[in-house]
């Protein structure tokens, strides 16, 4: 008799849909005992997620309590009127706040259907590397910055490789191509022009069938990259200006309306040194128009700092060369 593994028993506890394993556990006393231990473990883990009451101030902020009767008895009609006015004002404020705020766009929409099995992993990797690149850049760490861009190339090639089968030679040639273009981008050549060159060069490396598939993949990933680029701009602004979540959500809509469509998808080129808010005055204007005037000084300082970082990094890159 083959007994189920620990993995099988855990799967049964988590999903409970394996009839064979369940049948075996019912029949075999030894495995029944093992499964009982897994169930006790599951109850233990669940108990570790404690249920804590809402702090009073939070509960009061979210759910205004109704007046209690002794208070109502003691209170005169005027007080009741005052209470009514208070709640009416509160409700009015709540409604005005809701009316003032726009609806969120991308963040809560269901993700577009994936073109391939699991794009999330490479997307998350790209996003994390993009954050790292941004940090290294702001700290002026030139070698680390260049290394991170190299990591990004590797992720893109792996991601492509999980979508269409690539030979070792193709991977090698793609890496060379991307490395060459990245270096030219770092020498201040226009990233959009380089992306077109990348697109044409890929045709030489891939078969027509592979290229057609990659085109489909690029379209889906390009859409995601655009959304993600907007997200990154909002993240940075949220930290720099100390925006509320709701303000960030409004900003997302404003940026979404103004952010240019992604051209050829070449994330290893788009990552940096493009600064959307510096490069595209329309975007900066959209942000300025959306945020409240109280943030304008901070926003100007943020743009100034961004420009200084860019100048510093470009100088450091030239010195490195």
């Amino acid at each position: 008799m083959i007994h189920p593994s620990d993995e099988d028993l855990l799967e049964l506890a988590l999903a409970g849909d394996d009839a064979d394993v369940r049948g075996h556990v019912t029949q075999c006393a030894e495995c029944r005992a093992r499964f009982d231990a897994v169930e006790r473990e599951q109850a233990l883990i669940a108990s570790a997620f404690s249920d804590v009451a809402l702090p009073d101030r939070l509960r009061d902020a979210l759910t205004p309590r109704p007046a209690r009767w002794p208070w109502a008895v003691v209170a005169a009609a005027a007080l009741l009127l005052g209470t009514t006015t208070f709640f009416a004002a509160r409700a009015d404020h709540w409604h005005r706040e809701a009316a003032r705020l726009g609806l969120d766009a991308a963040a809560l929409r269901p993700a577009p259907e994936a073109k391939r099995a699991e794009p999330e992993e490479s997307r998350w990797k790209l996003r994390n590397v993009a954050h790292q690149v941004s940090e290294k850049r702001s700290e002026g760490q030139v070698p680390e910055f260049a290394r991170d861009l190299g990591d990004m190339r590797a992720i893109v090639i792996d991601s492509l490789g999980s979508f269409v089968e690539l030979t070792d030679d193709q991977r090698h040639r793609m890496d060379e191509l991307m490395g060459r273009l990245t270096n030219r981008m770092l020498s201040s050549e226009n990233a959009a022009t380089l992306a077109l060159e990348y697109h044409d060069a890929l045709k030489e490396i891939l078969t027509a069938e592979q290229f057609a598939e990659i085109e489909k993949w690029s379209a889906a990933e390009g859409d995601w990259a655009r959304t993600d680029a907007i997200e990154m701009v909002i993240d940075e602004l949220a930290a720099a200006l100390d925006l509320r979540h709701s303000e960030g959500e409004r900003l997302r809509e404003a940026l979404d309306a103004s952010y240019p469509a992604t051209g050829t998808y070449a994330p290893f080129l788009m990552a940096n040194p493009s600064d959307p808010l510096l490069d595209n005055p329309r975007l900066a204007q959209a942000v300025r128009g959306e945020i409240s005037a109280a943030y304008h000084t901070k926003f100007d300082a943020y743009l100034k700092n961004l420009a200084a970082q860019r100048t510093f990094m470009e100088k450091a890159m030239k010195e490195r060369k």
Partner: protein
């Protein structure tokens, strides 16, 4: 009748605020951040209340809003949303954690797990969502969610046994 057709945002707050608070507290591991996040969640629900009538699985939908808000808070605090799901983690989870294990220690170990693991464990064990609902909240396929949950428990087992 759908739940959302008979509940206003304030009623939703009464019904779900405690669950949302516990979820945010578990994901963010910081009480002040969790309180901020909960307020943002219900402000978002207020802004989107016209959509509430179409929501079929209210708890899952609110948890999705809560998770995105937690990510937001975390990023705003300068902490990356880690997706360290350790794909090389051993497939075999090993034997279960002994039921006599101290809950306090278990809780501490859960607090050290990568964010993505803690999120899926919280949705499963604390919120009691179905696999389909968890997949929807995390924005991943059901298969990927099962793998993630399995790995999270395996990781928890290995860390507890250290």
């Amino acid at each position: 009748m759908l739940v959302s057709q008979r509940l206003s945002v304030e009623e939703l707050a009464r019904e779900y605020s405690r669950r949302v608070y516990n979820f945010c507290r578990s994901v963010l591991r910081n009480e002040a951040d969790a309180e901020d996040a909960v307020q943002e969640v219900f402000l978002t629900l207020t802004r989107r209340r016209d959509e509430l009538a179409a929501v079929e699985r209210m708890q899952a939908w609110i948890m999705k809003v809560a998770l995105l808000t937690c990510h937001w808070v975390r990023r705003k605090r300068g902490r990356l949303v880690t997706t360290d799901t350790e794909p090389d983690a051993a497939a075999d989870p090993g034997p279960p954690i002994d039921a006599s294990e101290d809950v306090g220690r278990l809780r501490a170990v859960i607090g050290t797990l990568p964010d993505r693991y803690r999120e899926v464990l919280t949705l499963h064990y604390q919120q009691g969502l179905t696999h389909e609902e968890i997949s929807d909240v995390l924005g991943i396929s059901r298969g990927a969610m099962r793998v993630l949950l399995h790995r999270a428990v395996a990781k928890l087992r290995s860390e507890v046994k250290r």
